[in-house]
């Protein structure tokens, strides 16, 4: 680097461009990245700094004024407001239900669909279709199908002699319903990531193991699964983060109800910030959510690293 710079300087003659090559390169580069960089400063870094301040204020709706209250909002969330822990519990249940189900289903589908056979394109297309569909549209249709009376799901259950519950009116069933419908909506994405990973595993490994007499399960357990570990980590992190961020799906299907049974963190933040205008409290909640997401990511990365050693 230093060598190039001095050579540029030496080469500069009277009448040559005022800027050295290196400075010009740098200016050009910054010109190229300037829209991204300026947007980043205004709509990301600024807000990120501001949210720390917001989280330590209390807003007066009438005068639109913020009063500094220190860590009051965090105390309120963590120690006083019973809603908060209820909401965290809901979010954790949602994640614990969604992530394993999503990954297990995505992996099974990918194993079934990673090799060409008659109909493979059809199946991939079908399982991926909900991913390109709007979450609101998906939630509208499922809400319609999950009605207690006259809903398509209960009608089908009746055919096999099951008397289905009023899904979205009972807290536990509603939670199960949003988890399962969300998995169906999003599983295609993870399936595709797994298929890509499976196709990059050389076939020789599995063939050699099969020749040595390993069963399908052994091949999967001893060869395929360990080779998929990096993909599984990425998928786990992304899916967990995604599950904590779920909003539109819940908004449309249950509105956080019944009896706050599906009130999850992202929805609670929206409610507090934009419906009740508890801006300071909502900002504190948003930061807590950020901390949870970061912690989960770190834990998963660390667990995986220990696993691999």
């Amino acid at each position: 680097m230093a060598g190039t710079a001095s050579r540029d300087n030496a080469a500069r003659q009277p009448g040559a461009p005022w800027l050295t090559l290196k400075t010009r390169e740098m200016l050009e580069a910054w010109l190229f990245v300037s829209p991204t960089f300026i947007g980043f400063l205004i709509f990301f870094l600024g807000p990120l700094v501001a949210i720390f301040y917001y989280s330590m204020t209390e807003w007066n709706l009438l005068s639109q004024q913020a009063t500094f209250v220190g860590l009051r909002n965090f105390e309120n969330a963590l120690l006083e407001n019973p809603d908060f822990w209820h909401v965290v519990r809901n979010s954790v249940i949602f994640a614990l239900g969604l992530v394993p189900l999503n990954i297990a289903l995505a992996l099974s589908l990918a194993l079934a669909l990673s090799r060409p056979f008659f109909g493979v394109v059809f199946f991939r297309t079908v399982f991926f279709a909900p991913v390109v569909t709007s979450a609101i549209a998906w939630a509208i249709v499922w809400k319609f199908m999950l009605q207690g009376e006259g809903g398509a799901v209960n009608q089908m259950l009746a055919w096999i002699g099951i008397d289905g519950p009023n899904w979205l009116r009972e807290p536990n069933w509603a939670m199960a319903a949003v988890i399962v419908t969300r998995v169906i909506k999003m599983v295609g994405l993870n399936m595709i990531l797994y298929i890509a990973a499976l196709q990059s595993i050389p076939r020789d490994y599995e063939e050699a193991a099969t020749l040595e007499g390993a069963s399908r399960w052994q091949v999967f357990r001893m060869i395929t699964w360990p080779l998929l570990a990096p993909t599984t980590l990425v998928i786990m992190v992304l899916t967990t983060i995604g599950s904590f961020k779920v909003f539109d799906h819940i908004y449309q299907m249950t509105g956080g109800g019944p009896e706050n049974g599906t009130l999850v963190l992202a929805f609670y933040i929206y409610q507090q910030g934009f419906k009740f205008f508890n801006v300071g409290y909502a900002a504190a909640l948003a930061l807590i959510m950020f901390a949870i997401v970061m912690a989960l990511t770190l834990v998963q990365v660390m667990l995986r690293r220990r696993d691999m050693e």
Binding site: F32, A50, A135, I140, F274
Partner: protein
């Protein structure tokens, strides 16, 4: 049984299992379309897949209930604008990050990774006040600015950078020899070669904007400014209960064109998502 027949049997079992599993993925679309043609009485009666009476008036009523055509157009032009802007900005930045060694590049990359890690819920509250201070509440500006400069734009930048890194440099060097400026090299040589990456970015960006919900919900209040997802969730009677047949008809109108495009270009679309998923 011979191993061959076992294999065939195995295949058949798998296919049947997959077909059963496909039901909850396909059925909602069929049920949505069928519900869109039903009358209110049939909606609440015993459900059948094929409507007993096809009620085409639903689709006219959708447009009478809200300015649905206007809302449809809003979604289209916003998604198109976001896509074009993202392509331009992300390919510029991605190119510089891939090709030019400059002071601050490492720091910028670090910042961009950070932007990917932070959930949108964290920045949306300050952004709301920022947009309000700019006087842009109930306009389409936030729906364009926030996605272009938010995490979605960052994903696009990384995708473009990754693609440019994998391109051979020789052509660009030749272009430089021929006296093209840096911008000229980007515009005339790098961009045309980056078509596959641009297509992938365009697809995921368009769909992301088309399906965006939180931002329209927060920023928009006039019906004729709504975008589709917000409009869809708005088909309620005066008690706040859904007007199912209208809502399903409107949802069909919003979803079916996307599905048709998806069926035609499924390979390309799925690949685009795979690419962005691996990156993200």
């Amino acid at each position: 049984m011979t191993p061959r027949r076992i294999e065939t049997l195995y295949r058949i079992c798998w296919t049947v299992a997959l077909l059963l599993l496909a039901v909850p993925f396909v059925f909602p679309f069929l049920w949505m379309i069928s519900g869109g043609f039903k009358s209110t009485t049939e909606i609440f009666g015993a459900p059948t897949l094929i409507p007993r009476v096809w009620r085409f008036e639903n689709f006219a009523e959708v447009f009478a209930y809200q300015p649905f055509a206007r809302q449809y157009f809003n979604s289209l032009y916003i998604a198109a604008t976001v896509t074009v802007l993202t392509l331009f900005i992300a390919s510029l930045a991605g190119y510089a990050l891939a090709r030019i060694r400059f002071a601050g590049a490492g720091l910028l990359m670090l910042f961009l990774v950070m932007a990917l890690m932070v959930p949108e819920e964290v920045t949306i509250i300050p952004n709301f006040f920022l947009i309000r201070a700019m006087g842009l509440i109930d306009t389409h500006w936030p729906l364009i600015l926030l996605p272009v400069f938010g995490p979605q734009g960052v994903v696009a930048t990384f995708l473009m950078r990754q693609f440019f890194l994998a391109l051979p440099r020789e052509l660009e060097e030749a272009g430089k020899m021929d006296g093209l400026s840096r911008f000229g090299v980007w515009r005339k040589i790098a961009l045309p070669m980056a078509r596959p990456a641009l297509a992938a970015v365009a697809i995921i960006t368009f769909l992301h904007s088309w399906n965006l919900f939180l931002e329209p919900l927060i920023f928009l209040s006039s019906l004729d400014k709504f975008t589709l997802p917000l409009a869809l969730s708005n088909f309620n009677d005066s008690y706040g209960l859904p007007l199912w047949n209208l809502q399903l008809a409107a949802t069909s109108l919003a979803v079916v064109p996307i599905l048709i495009i998806y069926l035609i270009a499924q390979r390309q679309i799925i690949e685009s998502f795979a690419l962005s998923g691996v990156k993200g």
